[in-house]
């Protein structure tokens, strides 16, 4: 079936010239958008029109456009990454919207993610948390033969599920407290389940939580909104593991 054409939609988007500038919403009309196009392609079409009109195009983060880089951060109609589930904004299709609809686009809103321009936010807070302990620094040697390090299937699966986190920040954007617990939990969990990561597990949990607190993220109140918004469906069961890792690390000091 051929894709339908949306004759006219309205895009109400957050415009902010610089980090310190006062932002405002502006509404644009976009015409003749195929429902088969992606959401970012619709923004591209709008930006083309803005450039032709001699206006400043909308600044937004994007890179791979296949759902693995985690760059496209847009809060669309009250949902991080838009109304679809388990997708990033770049994987969202215009068929999720209807003729004449007004689409509201906002940047991630969090004290820890300041707006740089329009829809771009500074997510270097996540890098800082990673730098605090999201790595393995023990010498794991060369490439081992298959199955020399035995790992239970369940552990490997859970570690892989956690490692699916692309660090997009939808959890922080969605959480009513702007908590980064799902992100930190995923980064701690992906190592905590594997032998190479267990050696530094205690140090890692403490350092990453301390950095998270320092950067101004809120406290987790277990609402579970983060896992609903997560494009990779990372479970809040990982948050329970992070809590366990952190508490055992603190109490064994």
């Amino acid at each position: 079936m051929a894709d339908q054409i949306l004759n006219k939609i309205y895009v109400k988007v957050w415009r902010q010239n610089s980090p310190k500038a006062k932002g405002r919403f502006e509404t644009y009309t976009v015409e003749n958008v195929s429902q088969g196009s992606s959401f970012l392609e619709m923004i591209d079409i709008l930006n083309d029109k803005l450039i032709l009109d001699g206006k400043d195009p909308i600044a937004f983060d994007h890179d791979c456009r296949e759902g693995i880089c985690g760059m496209c951060s847009m809060y669309i109609n009250g949902h991080a990454h838009g109304p679809d589930t388990e997708v990033t904004t770049c994987q969202l299709h215009m068929r999720k919207f209807h003729e004449g609809q007004t689409i509201v686009i906002e940047p991630w809103r969090s004290a820890a993610f300041p707006v740089i321009k329009d829809l771009m936010v500074d997510r270097s807070a996540f890098e800082k948390i990673q730098q605090a302990g999201g790595y393995v620094s023990v010498n794991t040697g060369g490439v081992p033969d298959g199955n020399t390090i035995l790992i239970r299937q369940e552990d490997a699966e859970e570690a892989m599920d956690a490692a699916a986190c692309i660090g997009c920040g939808a959890c922080v954007a969605t959480c009513k407290n702007s908590s980064a617990m799902l992100f930190v939990a995923a980064k701690v969990s992906q190592f905590a389940k594997l032998p190479q990561g267990k050696i530094e597990a205690k140090k890692r949990a403490k350092a990453m939580v301390a950095k998270m607190d320092e950067l101004g993220f809120g406290n987790c109140t277990n609402t579970g909104a983060c896992e609903m918004a997560c494009p990779k469906s990372i479970s809040i069961a990982h948050i329970a593991r992070l809590n366990r890792e952190y508490l055992t690390a603190r109490f064994s000091d």
Binding site: F25, Y75, N77, G78, H79, V104, E106, R109, S110, A111, A112, E158, T174, K176, N177, S178, S179, V209, A210, M212, D213, G216, F217, G218, N219, C220, T221, N222, T223, G224, A225, M228, A229, S235, I236, A237, I239, A240, R241, L242, N243, R244, E245, Y246, L247, T248, R250
Partner: protein
């Protein structure tokens, strides 16, 4: 240790422990209160109240309970303030992943309402029984032991429909608060995983319903019966 109690997980750990402690108190409280509905002469409830007032273990636990409430309330304020600071600019379009009434989203408001109820509740009973006394609070002799007629105080209060309404609401609010708080506490302590998360959620909702229905049943019993 002070750094632990100011860290995000440390503070929530304290909320969880005090919360579970308060749930254990509510279990005893509800059990004893249900005696009100088993024996309309009031003897059974008076004996239970007398036991609680004189039992040395309960006497020791009373200040601990107060401390539990104080810590739970103060830390909830600290955490909520912190959470509000984490998002200085709100979304224009809000969020709709969780429904507006979801207890998990409204724990602070539910807690504040429960606290308001608690103040009324303490004024109604604890203050009269322990401090000021009340004309209704005469002494009765049950099984050869002299004790306060706490039953008279309760049954008189519950003849007022306004108080019945307040107590029914109080019961429902506590139930809603616990329907999220109970499993959330286990999650924060780290005693949860992929399998147990749904089990704990079911247990939490069950406990919430038991508390909600149980505490609301007592004033309704008095309202309908008398």
């Amino acid at each position: 240790m002070s750094s632990f109690l100011s860290a995000s997980i440390g503070r929530k750990f304290l909320m969880s422990l005090t919360g579970l402690f308060l749930v254990s108190f509510l279990c005893i409280h509800l059990t004893l209160n249900l005696f009100l509905t088993f024996d309309d002469s009031g003897d059974l409830f008076n004996q239970a109240a007398h036991f609680m007032a004189t039992n040395p273990f309960i006497r020791v636990m009373e200040p601990l309970l107060a401390l539990g409430f104080v810590i739970h309330i103060i830390w909830s304020g600290l955490i909520t303030l912190d959470n509000m600071r984490a998002r200085p600019q709100k979304y224009a379009y809000g969020d709709s992943l969780l429904s507006w009434w979801a207890p998990s989203k409204n724990m602070f408001i539910l807690g504040a309402l429960v606290l308001t109820f608690l103040v009324i509740h303490i004024m109604n009973f604890w203050v009269k029984m322990k401090l000021t006394g009340d004309p209704l609070l005469t002494n009765v002799t049950v099984g050869g032991v002299e004790m306060h007629n706490a039953y008279a105080l309760v049954s008189a209060l519950f003849r007022n429909p306004l108080y019945d309404l307040i107590y029914v609401l109080g019961g429902i609010l506590v139930g809603l608060h616990i329907s999220h708080g109970f499993w959330s506490a286990f999650q924060t302590i780290g005693l949860s995983n992929q399998i147990w998360i749904s089990r704990l959620k079911t247990v939490a909702v069950t406990i919430g319903v038991v508390f909600g229905v149980g505490f609301s049943y007592i004033p309704l019993y008095f309202l309908i019966k008398f």
